[in-house]
Amino acid sequence: MDGVHDMGGMDGFGKVEPEPNEPVFHHRWEGRVLAMSRAIGVFRAWTIDTSRYAIELLSPSVYLTSAYYEKWFVRNVRLLIERGFIDADEVTAGRALRPAKGMKRGRFTLADVESVTRRGSYGRPAPAPARYKVGDRVRTKNIHPTTHTRLPRYARGHMGVVERLHGAHIFPDSAAAGKGEDPQWLYTVRFDAQELWGADADPKLKVSIEAFEPYLEHV
């Protein structure tokens, strides 16, 4: 979707302001939200792709004015209710009003912690040979799906070069829509900045995206 989350190249957000000796969490609740997000992951309430899409679906005003972990929190509550893990009246009451429904695994305990602090694996067997090889000139498609995609707006409809192949990975556009993993080849595609931003762009800048095969076409 052409959402406000797709920020590459936008102007007006001001300077980057690094914070010296920044704490990992600025408030206790941020750590709790992160930990709950990781823990709930084991119940397969959502995938990385559905969870990103749920944040993209926040209204632009909420997206732009909410703190980072607040967006996670709003997303978590919405998905927990939608998928039947908790009920809206429990959120209002601030306590459980009925037992959990049909838990497919036991409680998330200390023994499960290590498994959720390591990133998952998204590589899958390739469904077909790769269409492109390193060094190929390719063009990104000019597409504007109204659902989740990982092809940023600034990189659509541009000529680039395949720099790396990463094997086949879960295709986020499909997975986020609940249409299955549909694995696709993943490439690093490199662009000259002047191709992306015009003749005035830095001549010594190159930018790459990670592009799934359906985002690309032969030049």
């Binding site: 989350h5 920020m7 590459g8 190249g9 007006g12 957000f13 300077k15 980057v16 302001e17 690094p18 914070e19 920044e22 990992v24 969490f25 600025h26 609740w29 750590g31 709790r32 930990a35 709950m36 823990a39 709930i40 119940f43 732009l64 703190a67 980072y68 607040e70 929190f73 509550v77 893990f85 908790i86 959120v91 306590r95 459980a96 037992p99 959990a100 838990m103 409680r107 998330f108 305990t109 200390l110 912690v113 390591r118 990133r119 998204y122 590589g123 940023p152 600034y154 990463h166 990975h169 879960i170 993943l186 690093t188 900045a193 992306l196 762009a201 010594k204 930018v207 990670e210 592009a211």
Partner: protein
């Protein structure tokens, strides 16, 4: 607001969000989904165990051992997994090396993808709207925000992390560090130097 999207605008509703988060935690614990101690442990791990010191060990090894450097550049997940002090990390890690000709920077314009296995949770600026919007278009101006100026002839290579690959920058080893141990070298390697928004410390800064 925008430059501070991570936090500073919420002093007025801080207690409200704290209460809302506690309520959800209570519900999840009472319904039997999660154990409070397990959440405590996750927070503790990110606050004390999983951080940029891990990446610094990897880079120090790459600076010291040409064979490891080569393995790291070929398959970073596999190479890092061979370091007993680090152990297995997630798949699809990619290490990219700075040279006198090319300086690498990593960003996620769409959300906040970051090599958490080796750097811990991302700093607020990495997730901020200014960093996400500007890095792919004017990285030299972003570098100036970090007090970093590179020669105009240095190529800037920006990696937008739009999939589950995770990029780790291998900064250049500072001069006058010949014969240094990996432990001593690791002290030069900052988090920002492994994202590409900073350079390693100078030997004189850690002497």
């Amino acid at each position: 607001m925008a430059a501070h999207d991570h936090d500073h605008n919420e002093s007025s509703n801080l207690s409200e969000i704290e209460l809302r988060v506690r309520a959800i935690e209570t519900i999840l614990v009472e319904k039997g989904y999660i154990e409070t101690a397990a959440l405590d442990r996750i927070v503790e791990l990110y606050e004390t165990k999983i951080g940029p010191h891990i990446g610094a060990q990897v880079i120090a090894k790459a600076w010291s051992d040409p064979g490891f450097r080569q393995s790291l550049l070929e398959d970073a997940s596999k190479a890092i997994g061979t370091l007993t002090q680090v152990g297995r990390v997630g798949d699809h890690m990619v290490a990219v090396e700075n040279t006198p000709q090319v300086h690498n920077m990593v960003v996620c314009t769409l959300c906040s993808c970051y090599p958490t296995d080796v750097l811990g949770l991302p700093p607020a600026w990495y997730k901020s709207f200014p960093y996400r919007s500007r890095t792919v278009k004017e990285p030299r101006v972003v570098l100036a925000d970090f007090g970093v100026a590179l020669p105009a002839e240095t190529e800037i290579r920006v990696w937008d992390s739009t999939a589950e690959t995770r990029y780790l920058v291998v900064p250049m080893r500072p001069a006058e560090t010949e014969g240094w141990s990996e432990t001593k070298l690791a002290a030069l390697i900052t988090r920002d130097s492994m994202i590409g928004t900073g350079l390693p410390k100078k030997p004189s800064e850690v002497a």
